[in-house]
């Protein structure tokens, strides 16, 4: 039981009201009275207690709440404080703002905006409903909603507009690029078609050119004339030319030939005289003088042979003379050598040698004996020799040791060393042997006798040959001298012998040679004689007396013969010239007749001077015809070639074949070629085109970016929607909101059934949303009342509609509906009647009659109090 009702009020000493008692019902109490009837006094008295306003008033308000009845005392603060235990949960603010409705409130409502209106509907704590939470949610998401919305009031949001525009542009670029690439295919196809057209056009042009050239050739052919007879007799004309050339030469040379004849004759005479000087030949015999080259060769040969033989003979002779001289000299040498030898007094060389040896032997023995007797084993020579050998042996051994140390035992050095060593050893051995021999000899003689004997023998021997050896101390010296002399003589003798031998041998050779030379000389002489005979025959044959001047004679003869021949020929030429001119003239006339060259006359030999010119003219004609013939042949060949060339082409028809036609065709080919080049360039350029892949990639990236942004956006929108839905749900379950809607519907007589606290609109059946700000005054007031009632009616409930410990307080309405019409007033009263089921209503009004009427008509149960 939460209804808090005022059952009774006693007012005393308040606003000139004293000791007035009023009783009230728990439902709707209508307190009517004119102005100054005390309505405000009653209202203020009650209000003041609830709002704890201190005054001098006395009296009380008797209340009933939760089965308890108690008085709330009016008066000073202390007394008001005593009321607190009954009304502690009812704040003065709550009461003032929630449970007192007067005309000022409606005036406020009329001017209030939607927010201000919303704030009137508070939750039970006196706070605006969801103010905090809604505020936060709205703050967070309203701002973000604006930012992330795909659209705004102007259409697509700027951010997304930019992104989609970008996307569209990328797509356009891609399409452009695709078109470019697409055109590659068509370009290739165009090129293929064009190539075929070009080929056909070029072919037609080539064919036309061939025809054109052929036509030209045919025209050219028509313009060529040929004299066939001229061509037929061309060879005759060539002969005429040759003939004339020869004639001309002769004619030109006639004088020269004559002169030549004279000159040759003179030369002949001179040379003949020369010849005669060399050889006596008569002119009449000259013809018989036939000297051929072979004759000259033979003559030369004979002369040469003779010359060689004579030369050879002379050589032999000089050699023979030399030999003879040599023999004389050799003989002289022999004589001289004999003489020398004789001077040596050596009659028998062998005996001489033997004597010499004997002498030496004596000498040697003598020396040995002397030496032995003097204690010398060696003679000085032997001693020196032995010393030399010893030194050499020593040196060799030294070298051998060095070789061992320094290892330069090259094989050749080794052999040399060994050889030298052996020689030294042999030398020393020889000396030793000689010593031993001398020793042996000394045994054969006794000492002094032997000495004397040796001396004697030696002196004897020397004397034999006229030498003198002195005995005694000079024996050795003189003996040695004699021995040396004898040796020298022997050597001399032997030299002379050798010399003589040699000389004799030379002499022999010289004699032999001499004999040979003589033999040769005889042979040569014989040959010369034969040669002379042959020569004689030769000369006889060639009719010459000698071979002297043969060369010159031969040359002269040859020249003379040639001169004679030349003279003869020249004379013949001169003779023939006349005849040839006549013959030529005939041939010329014949040629002219045969060839039908009517422009030329018949000529005689006397027209000879003109013949050059005539022939030139004919030559021109002939050459011209030849050229024409060649030209015709060439043209025919050309035409044949053109026909062959044309045969490979298809047969094209032309209206006329002129240069103009060709030019037209050329232009066609040219334009197609240019077109092909252009398309080929286009194709090449297209192949270089790239970027489609990059563009597609970039577009992909952009699309994904947009996708991501939109995802974010949608996420935010979802959240916003969720909050909105939650708010709606919240609103739908808010008891004061629910009540407010109900009351509003009642107050407006069902016209408006919905209040949207989110959008701050009202709506009803068939009536669209109307903004609170745009409501009429009356509707706004109705709305306001509904909100106030909604709040007041749920003051005792929490958000879930459960009791919150607070009472349902009575609501005091101070004639707030003065501006309402009857209908509205009726509606509000009905509503209040409904409201009074939960909350006591104290409705103060001065419109007694209208209110009474409504109450009666609507059968509203009420407590009527008239002041």
């Amino acid at each position: 039981m939460t209804k808090f009702k005022i059952s009774e009020t006693k007012i005393d000493n308040f606003n000139e009201t004293n000791n007035q008692l009023y009783t009230f019902d728990e439902g709707i109490n209508i307190i009517c009275g004119d102005n100054e009837a005390g309505k405000s006094t009653l209202m203020d008295f009650v209000k003041n207690i609830f709002i704890r306003k201190s005054s001098s008033a006395k009296g009380y308000v008797k209340c009933e709440y939760e089965g308890e009845s108690f008085n709330l005392i009016a008066g000073e603060t202390k007394k008001l404080k005593e009321n607190e235990k009954y009304i502690e949960r009812i704040t003065a603010h709550d009461f003032q703002t929630g449970f007192v409705i007067n005309i000022d409130d409606l005036m406020f409502a009329k001017k209030a905006n939607a927010e201000e209106l919303l704030n009137t509907i508070k939750d039970s704590s006196g706070n605006a409903v969801n103010q905090k939470q809604e505020e936060y949610a709205a703050l967070i998401y309203d701002a973000k909603k604006q930012k992330f919305s795909l659209t705004n009031s102007n259409g697509l949001s700027t951010n997304f507009k930019r992104q989609f525009d970008n996307l569209r542009k990328m797509d356009e670029d891609i399409k452009k690029l695709q078109l470019k690439e697409e055109s590659y295919n068509s370009v290739c196809q165009s090129i293929t078609l064009l190539e075929e057209d070009l080929r056909l056009a070029a072919e037609k042009l080539e064919y036309a050119e061939i025809l054109f050239q052929k036509n030209n050739a045919l025209k050219e052919k028509e313009n060529i004339n040929i004299n066939k007879k001229v061509l037929e007799y061309k060879s005759e004309f060539d002969k005429l030319r040759e003939e004339f050339g020869a004639l001309n030469s002769l004619k030109r040379n006639e004088e020269a030939v004559t002169q030549k004849i004279e000159t040759n004759k003179k030369n002949f005479d001179e040379n003949f005289k020369k010849l005669n000087r060399l050889e006596d030949i008569k002119i009449e015999d000259f013809d018989g003088l036939n000297l051929e080259n072979e004759d000259l060769k033979t003559g030369r040969k004979l002369i040469e042979e003779e010359k060689n033989l004579i030369f050879e003979q002379n050589n032999l002779q000089s050699k023979t003379d030399e030999l003879a001289e040599q023999i004389d000299n050799l003989n002289n040498c022999i004589s001289s050598s004999d003489e020398r030898r004789n001077k040596l007094n050596i009659y028998d060389i062998n005996e001489y040698k033997s004597d010499k040896d004997m002498l030496i032997s004596c000498y040697t023995r003598f020396s040995d004996l002397k030496n032995r007797m003097s204690g010398e084993n060696f003679n000085p020579k032997q001693k020196k020799w032995f010393e030399d050998m010893f030194i050499m042996l020593f040196v060799i051994l030294g070298l051998g040791m060095l070789g061992s140390v320094f290892r330069f035992w090259h094989s050749s050095v080794k052999y040399v060393f060994i050889s030298m060593l052996l020689v030294s050893i042999v030398g020393i051995n020889t000396v030793i042997m000689q010593k031993l021999s001398a020793k042996k000899q000394s045994n054969q003689f006794s000492s002094d006798e032997e000495l004397v004997q040796c001396e004697k023998t030696a002196i004897k021997l020397a004397k034999k040959y006229g030498y003198d050896i002195q005995p005694g101390v000079n024996f050795i010296v003189t003996a040695n001298t004699v021995i040396e002399k004898m040796k020298s003589n022997i050597a001399e003798y032997e030299n002379i012998d050798s010399e003589l031998l040699r000389i004799r041998m030379d002499l022999e050779r010289a004699k032999t040679k001499l004999a040979e030379n003589e033999k040769l000389s005889d042979e040569i002489t014989e040959k010369l004689e034969d040669l002379a005979k042959e020569k004689s025959k030769y000369l006889e044959r060639i009719h010459l007396s000698s071979t002297e001047n043969l060369e010159e004679i031969f040359e002269l003869t040859k020249d003379l013969k040639f001169t004679l021949k030349t003279i003869s020929e020249s004379e013949t030429d001169l003779q023939n010239l006349e005849k040839n001119i006549e013959s030529f003239t005939d041939n010329l006339n014949k040629f002219i007749e045969n060839t039908g060259l009517n422009d030329f006359q018949k000529y005689s030999k006397y027209d000879y001077p003109k013949f050059d010119e005539v022939l030139s003219k004919i030559d021109e004609i002939v050459c011209g015809n030849i050229a024409n013939e060649q030209a015709l042949s060439d043209i025919d060949l050309k035409i044949q070639k053109y026909d062959e060339q044309a045969s490979v082409y298809p047969h094209y028809e032309f209206e006329k074949m002129e240069e103009e036609t060709l030019n037209e065709l050329k232009n066609i080919v040219k334009s197609k070629t240019e077109e092909k080049a252009r398309l080929s360039q286009q194709k090449d350029d297209l192949e270089k085109v790239s970027g489609l892949y990059d563009l597609r990639n970039a577009k992909n990236v952009e699309l994904n970016r947009i996708r991501l942004a939109i995802s974010k956006l949608i996420q935010k929108e979802i959240i916003y929607n969720v909050i909105g839905i939650a708010k709606d749900k919240f609103n739908e379950t808010q008891p004061n909101f629910v009540s407010a809607k109900e009351y509003f519907s009642k107050i407006t007589g069902g016209k408006y059934s919905e209040i949207d606290f989110e959008t701050k609109t009202i709506s009803g059946d068939g009536i669209g949303d109307k903004d609170w700000d745009n409501l009429s005054r009356g509707t706004k007031e109705q709305l306001y009342l509904a909100l106030r009632l909604g709040y007041a009616g749920n003051y005792s409930k929490d958000l879930k509609g459960n009791p919150n410990g607070k009472p349902d307080l009575p609501i005091i309405i101070d004639d707030a509906f003065v501006n309402f019409d009857k209908e509205r007033t009726s509606a509000i009263l009905k509503c209040l009647s409904e409201f009074s089921k939960t909350n006591q209503v104290l409705y103060f009004t001065c419109h007694t009659d209208s209110v009474k009427e409504i109450l009666k008509n609507e059968k509203i149960k009420h407590n009527y109090i008239e002041l």
Partner: protein, 428 residues
Amino acid sequence: MTFSFIHLADIHLGRPFSDLPELGEKKELCNQACTRSFNKITDLAISKKVDFVLIAGDSFDSEEHDLSSKLLFRENLKRLADNGIKSYIICGNHDSIEVYKKNESYFRFDSKYDGLINITGVNTPENIEAYKPIDGVNIYSASFKSDESENQLKYLPKIDDKNSKDFNIGLLHCDLDKTESKYAPTSREDLRNLGYDYYALGHIHIPEVKESGAVKIVYAGSPQGRTKKETGAHGCYYAEINGKTVEKLEFIPTDFVRFSTMDIDCSDCENKLDVFEEITNSTSNINEDAELSLLEINLSGVTNAYKDLTESENLIEEYRQNFGDIGKTAVYRINNDTVPCVNESEFAEDNGIIGIIHRGVEKGEINLGEIYDNISEIHEAIYKKLGLDSESKDFLTASLKVDKEEITESAKKEIKSLCSEIYSIDKV
């Protein structure tokens, strides 16, 4: 009889990378990746001196003209042919025979390439064709006439006595293990029944050997992955055959850019900066053998950084502007799956709007899906009015459907965070 071949498919020349933000310098790497990958396979074929190359469809992304792609394709086929390597190409759903015919000028080859470059249905009269590249080997191929196709196996010859001793290859573009598909749905049993030795398949972009027994069924995958769904290595298969035996079947990676994902727990992060630093530290340890690793980062965990992260207008751009790339890696997408640090029990019983919001969202009384659908309707209508090209429109409209769950979940989390925040302020 020994021979070797290379099997590739789904080159999709002309298809740009999807889902990428502005990558700065690395953009060019991505742009060139597909071209380089294809060139690399051609170089590989030449260096290994294979006997032939099989290309199982979708060589081009669409019939829309991309001249450089078509020229590249033509030049590589010619390069193979100039080195004596035959190529056998079939048409897929993206590059059907129709597409080739519309672009025939690109695929008109000189007569010296006859028999060397074989595009089934393009330079042959029929869309089903049999080839004999070398003695003892048969290739049976089937091309898409248009962008859809039924199962084509019924048009291919079965193995009989005549060709049972040969090594028989089926070259197909199909959807394996699917009964309802617009793209030649095919079953493994059907393939086995046909009796070929090797099925060179195309259409699925992830490389995989579906069957490795006596009958090999292989999807070559695309040589270069291009969306976040195409993670891992991409390339081609190289096979060496001896008689009827596949002696070697080797996957050779040829991709230059590789997609991968990474999960990062943000529980210890206080703000966005912490999160970014965590990302940077984690990505610096990546070691892939591709030239560029594109990373999708999934942030998770209950974190105080949630609000910071969600308030970011464009998280990936912010990260890239402040932190850039490290080495061979580039972060291209950051998914914020973190959860705010909220004590829901605090405001679960709130009597005000917060309580209504929380209870409504948790229990589904407030249906986020419905709200999303309503918003989507409005957006779709706006897209239509904007005059966008059909591709952009379709993309954005499709995104609305695709992103629904993600966005509603994010909204739910953010609502909780907001409730927690407002509730805290309210209490203060």
